[in-house]
C-alpha cells in the first residue's frame, strides 16, 4: 500500500509515475482540499464570468487530467494530522489510521500570514490565495468590483493586482520591506522599473513606511464598507504533521537527489515542500515553489519509489533547471537560473525605462552569468533569450554559487 500526502501536482505526478511502472499499484492519495488536482498557476491567470457555481467552474477549467478514473483511491477533504514513520502509520483528521508500506510527502506550503485566521475586521474581508476555494472567494469579490488591498509584491501579489485591474477594481499594493516588486529576485533596478510599470497601469503602490502604515493588523476601527485585503507575503512549508520523527524539517523536508528522505527508508518527498541538493550549486540545497519543479520532483519521487519496490523505472538525479514566466499588466516576464544570487546585472537588449518595448537582462556573480530575464509586451528578443537560457544551463553546473 502506497500513501501520498498532498493532492497537488507533485502528489499527482508521483502517483502517475508509479502507475506507469505498475499499473495495478495500490495508491491512496490524501488531500485536505475537496477538489482533485488542478493547475495552481491558473488560479490568477484569467477572469471568470460571474456564475452561481463559480468554484466548480474554476475547478473544472483547471483540473489536471492524465490519470484514468479508478486507478487511484482519492481521499479528498481528508487531512493527515500526524505521522508515525517508524510504525508506518498516518493518523487522519477523520480519526482513522492508515497503514502504508511506502509514503510520498507532497504536502506543499500554505500562505504566510501576519495574523492567524481569516475572517473580517472592521475595514476588510481578509484572505490569502493558495487553493481553489480561496480563488473562488477572491474572484467573486473582484467580480463585485470591490477595492482590493494586497500586502506583498511577489508573483502571486502582482498577478492578483493585474487580475483585479482587469475586473475593474481599485488596487492598492503594500510592500513594507522592499521598494518594489520581485526586488529580492531581480534586484533594485528592475524592481523600480516594474514598480513604474505597475503604477502606470493604475495601481497605488506603497513601499516602506507608507506601506507599513496601511498594513492591517485587524484592530482598525472603521465604519466604511469592507474592502478586500489579501496577504501574499510568501509561504510556509506544511511539515508540522511530521514532527517527532527525527526528520530535518528546518526548511521543508530534506531529501536526497532521488527525492528519498534520508532518515527513513520507503519515504519520499516532492514538490514545494521538498528541499533537495541543488544540481546547479554544489554543496547547497534548494526548495522551489514553481509548477515545473513540482512536476519534475513529483515524477522523480514516483519513479524512485517504484524502483525501490523492484518495478522497472528510470531513475536519475533531479535536474530541474529554474525557468518561469508570469504576466503582469500585459508585460511578459520570463526568468531563468538564479538571479537572486547575482551581484550585478547587464542590460543585453532594450532599456529598463521601456520594459514594454522589450528588455533582456543578464545577472552576473563575479562576472559569471547566474541568471537571465526577459520582459516584453510582445516577444521581440525571444530567440536571443532562448539562446541565453541554453547557454546559462550549459554553464550553470560549473558555477559554484554557495
Amino acid at each position: 500500500m502506497i500513501g501520498i500526502v498532498g493532492s497537488g501536482i507533485a502528489g499527482f505526478r508521483a502517483a502517475k509515475a508509479i502507475l506507469k511502472s505498475k499499473a495495478d499499484a495500490r495508491i491512496v492519495l490524501f488531500g485536505d482540499e475537496t477538489h482533485r488536482t488542478y493547475s495552481r498557476p491558473g488560479l490568477t491567470k484569467r477572469r471568470y464570468p460571474s456564475s452561481a457555481a463559480l468554484d466548480l467552474a474554476i475547478a473544472q477549467d483547471l483540473t489536471v487530467k492524465g490519470i484514468e478514473n479508478g486507478a487511484l483511491t482519492w481521499r479528498l477533504g481528508t487531512r493527515v494530522d500526524t505521522a508515525d514513520l517508524a510504525g508506518k502509520v498516518l493518523h487522519l483528521s477523520t480519526g482513522e489510521k492508515f497503514d502504508y508500506d511506502s509514503l510520498v510527502i507532497a504536502a506543499g506550503v500554505r500562505p504566510r500570514t501576519s495574523v492567524e485566521g481569516g475572517g473580517e475586521c472592521a475595514s476588510h474581508t481578509h484572505g490569502t490565495l493558495r487553493g481553489v476555494d480561496d480563488a473562488y472567494h477572491v474572484h467573486r469579490e473582484l467580480q463585485a468590483g470591490k477595492k482590493v488591498t494586497i500586502a506583498g509584491a511577489g508573483f502571486v501579489a502582482c498577478e492578483l493586482a493585474s487580475l483585479a485591474k482587469e475586473y475593474g477594481c481599485e488596487v492598492v499594493m503594500l510592500e513594507a520591506l522592499r521598494r518594489g516588486p520581485f526586488e529580492s529576485v531581480l534586484g533594485e533596478r528592475i524592481s523600480s522599473a516594474l514598480r513604474r510599470w505597475i503604477v502606470r497601469n493604475g495601481v497605488t503602490f506603497l513601499a516602506g513606511d507608507s506601506a507599513k502604515e496601511q498594513l492591517c493588523d485587524r484592530s482598525m476601527v472603521s465604519t466604511s464598507a469592507r474592502s478586500l485585503y489579501i496577504e501574499a507575503i510568501g509561504s510556509v512549508p506544511n511539515v508540522e504533521w511530521l514532527s517527532g520523527n527525527g526528520l530535518d524539517l528546518s526548511d521543508g523536508v530534506r531529501v536526497d537527489e532521488y527525492m528519498r528522505v534520508p532518515e527513513c527508508a520507503d519515504v519520499f518527498a516532492a514538490g514545494d515542500v521538498a528541499r533537495y541538493p541543488d544540481p546547479w550549486a554544489a554543496g547547497s540545497s534548494t526548495r522551489r515553489e514553481f509548477w515545473k519543479n513540482a512536476i519534475d520532483t513529483g515524477d522523480l519521487a514516483g519513479r524512485s519509489l517504484a524502483s525501490s519496490l523492484g518495478y522497472t523505472a528510470k531513475v536519475s538525479g533531479i535536474g530541474y533547471f529554474p525557468s518561469m514566466a508570469t504576466e503582469v499588466f500585459g508585460l511578459r516576464i520570463q526568468i531563468a537560473g538564479n538571479p537572486q544570487v547575482s551581484d550585478s546585472l547587464e542590460v543585453v537588449r532594450g532599456d529598463l525605462d521601456r520594459l514594454d518595448h522589450g528588455v533582456l537582462v543578464k545577472f552576473l556573480r563575479e562576472e559569471t552569468t547566474v541568471g537571465v530575464a526577459s520582459m516584453d509586451k510582445g516577444a521581440r528578443f525571444n530567440s536571443v533569450y532562448i539562446e541565453m537560457v541554453k547557454s546559462l544551463k550549459a554553464h550553470a553546473g560549473s558555477v559554484l554559487v554557495s
Binding site: K45, W291, A379, I386
Partner: protein
C-alpha cells in the same frame, strides 16, 4: 501523434519555446506559433514543453 495547443487557454508565456524550440516559437508580437508534427527523437523535449506550460494548454492528440 501530433501537438495541439488550446488557443483559449494559451497565454503566450513562452515556456514551451524554451523546452522545445524546434516546435514552438514566440513571434515578435508575442503570439505563439507551433508545428504539429515532430520526430521521435524530440519527444522528450515536447513532453517537457507540455509539462512546462503554466496553464496546461499544450497536449498530444492522436491522429
Amino acid at each position: 501523434m501530433k501537438i495541439v495547443v488550446d488557443r483559449v487557454k494559451c497565454q503566450n508565456h513562452g515556456q514551451c519555446a524554451i523546452s522545445a524550440p524546434a516546435n514552438f516559437e514566440l513571434g515578435a508580437d508575442g503570439e505563439l506559433h507551433y508545428r504539429e508534427s515532430f520526430d521521435e527523437g524530440s519527444i522528450d523535449d515536447i513532453e517537457d514543453a507540455i509539462d512546462s506550460c503554466p496553464v496546461q494548454a499544450v497536449s498530444f492528440e492522436s491522429r
